[in-house]
């Protein structure tokens, strides 16, 4: 796996960063995409490159097709390939539908769903050319169960899951697999900001009795990215402590 090149969108924080780290540990060259937070990107880069020089950061807004195309062109120009795409960039703008500002609907769809479309479309030519590829989309229990206050988010993630299944059928012939990973409640910056009541409510729903770690999600992504997972496509793996 060591000569492979991976792009992780939303790759400088949380689950994306842990995934980038797991791929780097396998000796892969990893591009960590981010949209705006230069400071976090620099910190993530220093962290990942502490034991080698395999990681790079690459700035682009995944909801902007021109930026996504430019990013992927650059990776292919510099390395000659792109083997693994992890669509991990995502945003949340929770709120009940009746009172939801329209902009919160559109922005979530633009980033979480259109972003997956742009990036997946752009990697298909190089992946078909090399007859090997892995596309792994990060989804959510919201896509599977629904959650009050998350119509926009669950629609975007449910859309990504269906997209995953259809694209898997289009690309299986070329040695490309397309799968999803559904992380439950994962201890990240987001959960740190949770208030105590919400925290308890979540914990009561999780059979494992704790939040997951970004590394536990990364392990599932790493498996789907491996040669061993070549016959798995159009599937999703929940990493949620039994939540769903």
């Amino acid at each position: 796996m060591s000569d492979r090149v991976a792009l992780v969108t939303g790759g400088t924080k949380g689950i994306g960063k842990a995934t980038a780290h797991a791929l780097v540990r396998k000796g892969m060259r990893v591009f960590m995409n981010y949209a705006s937070d230069d400071k976090a990107a620099e910190e993530a880069l220093n962290e990942l490159n502490a034991s080698g020089n395999l990681a790079r950061t690459i700035k682009a807004d995944v909801s902007d097709q021109q930026q996504v195309n430019a990013m992927i062109d650059r990776i292919v120009r510099e390395t000659g390939r792109i083997d693994i795409l992890v669509n991990s960039a995502g945003i949340i703008r929770d709120g009940l539908l009746m009172l939801m500002p329209d902009s919160n609907w559109h922005r979530v769809i633009e980033v979480n769903l259109n972003g997956v479309y742009y990036a997946s479309k752009a990697v298909l030519r190089p992946m078909i050319g090399s007859r090997w590829g892995r596309i792994i989309n990060i989804i959510s229990p919201s896509a599977l169960l629904g959650r009050a206050g998350q119509t926009n988010y669950s629609a975007s993630k449910g859309g990504v899951l269906s997209f995953t299944k259809s694209l898997a059928r289009e690309s299986a012939r070329f040695g490309i697999t397309v799968n999803a990973v559904s992380p439950g409640v994962i201890a990240t910056e987001l959960t740190k900001e949770m208030d105590e009541r919400v925290r308890k409510e979540f914990l009561s729903m999780i059979p494992a009795g704790r939040f997951g770690t970004p590394e536990e999600v990364a392990a599932a992504v790493l498996f789907l990215a491996s040669d061993e997972a070549a016959y798995i496509t159009g599937e999703y793996i929940s990493v949620d402590g039994g939540l769903t």
């Binding site: 030519r125 078909i128 289009e170 070329f174």
Partner: protein, 86 residues
């Protein structure tokens, strides 16, 4: 490049990139549709052909509207390549 020469070259490229084991380049009718009837190629095969053509000739087949025109027949494809080749 002469269109006739290019047609022969494209026949070989199609047979090779789509791994058409039972088809000889000479079996391909330059005026028959490439997909659907004829060779029995499907639209997913076309993806691989698009990638091979883009790589070999530096052309771009950006979407299916262009693809339909280019893949109408081998002769049409040769015309498209000649017009757009870098």
């Amino acid at each position: 490049m002469e269109k006739e020469t290019l047609i022969e070259e494209l026949k070989a490229l199609i047979v090779k990139s789509l791994k058409l084991e039972d088809v000889l380049p000479s079996d391909i009718d330059p005026d028959a549709p490439l997909f659907g009837s004829g060779l029995g190629l499907d639209s997913i095969d076309a993806l691989e052909l698009v990638v091979a053509l883009e790589k070999t000739y530096g052309i771009r087949i950006p979407d299916e509207d262009v693809g339909k025109e280019a893949f109408a027949s081998l002769s049409a494809l040769a015309g498209y390549v000649i017009k757009n080749k870098k």
